[in-house]
């Protein structure tokens, strides 16, 4: 847990996060400056050095997928922290690390078969402008879409329901050669 900003390990802050999570509908948290500065920069540098394989099924997704271990997400203390916030027993973290650049996206089709589950993502980027796209968006029929802030080193958690689906906005040419890394997953 030394990778997490120590602020988020304080009892009174955890209580605030718990309340915010429970009171939101759908249940959501968005924590800026989530990783310690050293851990975040080290992770960003590692990702920038890698050349992940690009994957594309045009009517579903286009992105590159990194083969990388994130120690924090394997730490039992992290599961306990999640359990405390959500007041639900967290058993296992499934995750993957994706890289998005110009022309990359995911479509709703890729999320439609997924039922209720606790989903999270951590955003990592050197430089990004919201006009370039790349927002993580959750949509549900007849409801306003939920756009998460595009903020580097933010931790985002959402209790996804079977009728709420996710996509990642197409990234346009103004992004140039910049990359947006998203560590995304779900917690059982």
């Amino acid at each position: 847990m030394e990778d997490i900003n120590p602020l988020y390990l304080k009892k009174d802050i955890i209580d605030q996060i718990k309340n915010s999570y429970i009171e939101s509908d759908p249940h959501i948290i968005n924590l800026p400056n989530f990783l310690s500065i050293n851990s975040y920069e080290s992770l960003l540098n590692n990702l920038d050095r890698m050349t992940p394989a690009h994957k594309k099924i045009a009517d579903r997704f286009s992105y590159s997928e990194h083969d990388i271990d994130i120690n924090l997400l394997k730490d039992k203390a992290f599961l306990s922290w999640i359990s405390e916030i959500t007041r639900k027993k967290a058993k296992n973290v499934n995750y993957r690390c994706l890289r998005f650049g110009h022309k990359d996206y995911t479509l709703l089709h890729d999320s439609e078969a997924i039922g209720d589950r606790l989903e999270f993502f951590i955003l990592i980027m050197k430089r990004w402008d919201t006009k370039w796209g790349g927002h993580t968006v959750y949509v549900a029929h007849d409801q306003q879409p939920i756009l998460f802030p595009l903020e580097g080193n933010s931790f985002n958690l959402i209790q996804k329901t079977k009728n709420r689906h996710k996509f990642i906005q197409y990234i346009n040419h103004h992004s140039g050669k910049e990359n947006l890394y998203i560590i995304e997953g779900f917690i059982e």
């Binding site: 009517d59 022309k103 479509l107 949509v139 996509f167 197409y170 346009n172 040419h173």
Partner: protein
């Protein structure tokens, strides 16, 4: 206003059938130059509404069946006329009921349409009539047609940069994978499009 389509419909039908990755055809100089210019002026005066989803970012007009613009009304009546529907039916080999949809579209810098097959509510033939001039490869906005790979979209097989006063027709099916590539410049990509049912 008159639509200029070759009398040799059999030849157009062969081109339509033979084109890959799925049946389609490009018809150049669809209207007389002055009519095309008038249609462009008219469509630019219509109200466009910006639309976003996971699949697209573009601006559209309402269905042009209700337009008050005389030139656009005339175009709508020509496209939905029995004669034109009969020609389209002959070229595409598809029996058409006579119903059409028609709306203006505008793609500006960063707008796009990601890969889809267009299948919805008994659409039979899709059409796009281009009203943008001097588009080049560097401007983006090409219509890309993709192959079908076991029910999924495969590779891009054909790309069409918008050509002034030309119309593309393609058959809508589970294999009609297509996309509009992102517009990369400040040029405005105007078109009128829709479906024959």
């Amino acid at each position: 206003m008159k639509i200029n389509i070759s009398d040799n419909l059999d030849s157009l039908a062969k081109t339509f059938r033979d084109n890959s990755p799925f049946p389609h055809i490009v018809i150049n100089d669809l209207l007389a130059e002055r009519d095309a210019q008038n249609i462009r002026k008219s469509i630019m005066k219509e109200k466009f509404e910006k639309k976003h989803s996971d699949l697209f970012s573009l601006s559209q007009t309402n269905d042009l069946s209700t337009t008050k613009d005389l030139a656009l009304k005339e175009l709508y009546l020509l496209f939905s006329s029995k004669d034109f529907i009969r020609q389209i039916s002959k070229i595409t080999g598809v029996s058409l009921k006579g119903k059409i949809d028609m709306a203006g579209s505008l793609y500006e810098d960063t707008d796009f349409l990601l890969c889809q097959d267009d299948r919805l509510e008994k659409r039979s033939i899709a059409y796009i009539y281009y009203l943008s001039s001097r588009f080049t490869e560097q401007d983006g906005g090409a219509l890309a047609l993709l192959s079908d790979k076991e029910g999924k979209p495969g590779e891009i097989v054909r790309r069409y940069i918008p050509v002034w006063n030309s119309m593309i027709l393609f058959k809508v099916s589970s294999q009609s994978w297509h996309e509009v590539e992102e517009v990369l410049s400040a040029k405005k990509r105007y078109a009128i499009g829709g479906w024959f049912y």
